[in-house]
Symmetry: C2
């Protein structure tokens, strides 16, 4: 599980670097699909990971700033760093014995849903990779090479 989080965090950093090479106008331009804009997509990835792990599993009070309060590349990066600092210890301390523990989620419709920690973590992993796939299309629309999505070759599994 940890390796897929490390993959996501590394890819996210690479996308933040990629963003440095693009104007803020392009980062906020309305596009087709997903959340429709590059920078809000990166914000959303961070907020969802943080919400499920810190708010959901850890049941800590979560006060996420709305996007408008962190609506620049530097601020979304700082937001990502803060959230990562808070949630990474949980991922690094993960044990398979936590797999079947249950958390209760209150849906937007006010319903209570039970999910195992294992399901939540995999949901968060897939969520980020999916949105990053959308960024890769938008990158080509701008005429730029996207960050590689390859997991192999990132040094995540030192030989």
């Amino acid at each position: 599980m940890l390796k897929l989080f490390e993959y996501n965090w590394q890819v996210r950093r690479d996308w933040f670097d990629w963003c440095e090479t693009v104007s803020e106008e392009e980062l906020m331009k309305k596009r087709t699909g997903g959340l429709g804009r590059i920078l809000p997509t990166l914000y959303h990835i961070v907020a969802v990971e943080y919400g499920w792990i810190v708010g959901g599993i850890q049941e800590r009070t979560v006060n996420l700033p709305p996007f408008e309060e962190v609506a620049s590349l530097a601020e979304v990066k700082a937001f990502s760093d803060r959230c990562h600092g808070e949630l990474a210890p949980f991922i690094y301390d993960w044990k398979d014995s936590l797999e079947d523990r249950v958390m209760i989620d209150i849906t937007d419709e006010g319903e209570r849903e039970a999910h195992t920690y294992g399901e939540v973590l995999r949901h968060v992993i897939a969520h980020e990779i999916h949105h990053i796939g959308q960024l890769s299309v938008w990158s080509r629309e701008i005429g730029k090479k996207p960050v590689t999505a390859n997991l192999i070759g990132r040094g995540l599994f030192p030989g």
Copy 2:
């Protein structure tokens, strides 16, 4: 690991169903990003999964048909079913003790690269999710709702 493969296989089936609601012309239309076409993307996802697991890890001889030989929705689905039938047992029989076993990959440049089984499986998982993210953008371009990428709510973790 298994759960993320099951997620991918379920999402892939949903996309094949989605494809039934779209003309073959749309499935083959040139688009921006990734492999640039919907049906070849689904073919590619299947071929990559099969190539790494059956050809790479299992070291079995792999004779993948080029896309041109299976260039219809029905044929790509049948190709996916065949590949899945061959490789799924390996995934269902997976044990964590296989995690650090090493396979040798010969790259397109003819170089030998060593990868652990664990790295290869995670690469394959992330590869499919990434390309599915691209399909979701192209779906909106066609004016259609994409298949949900949510892992939660798919019944993968029966409560």
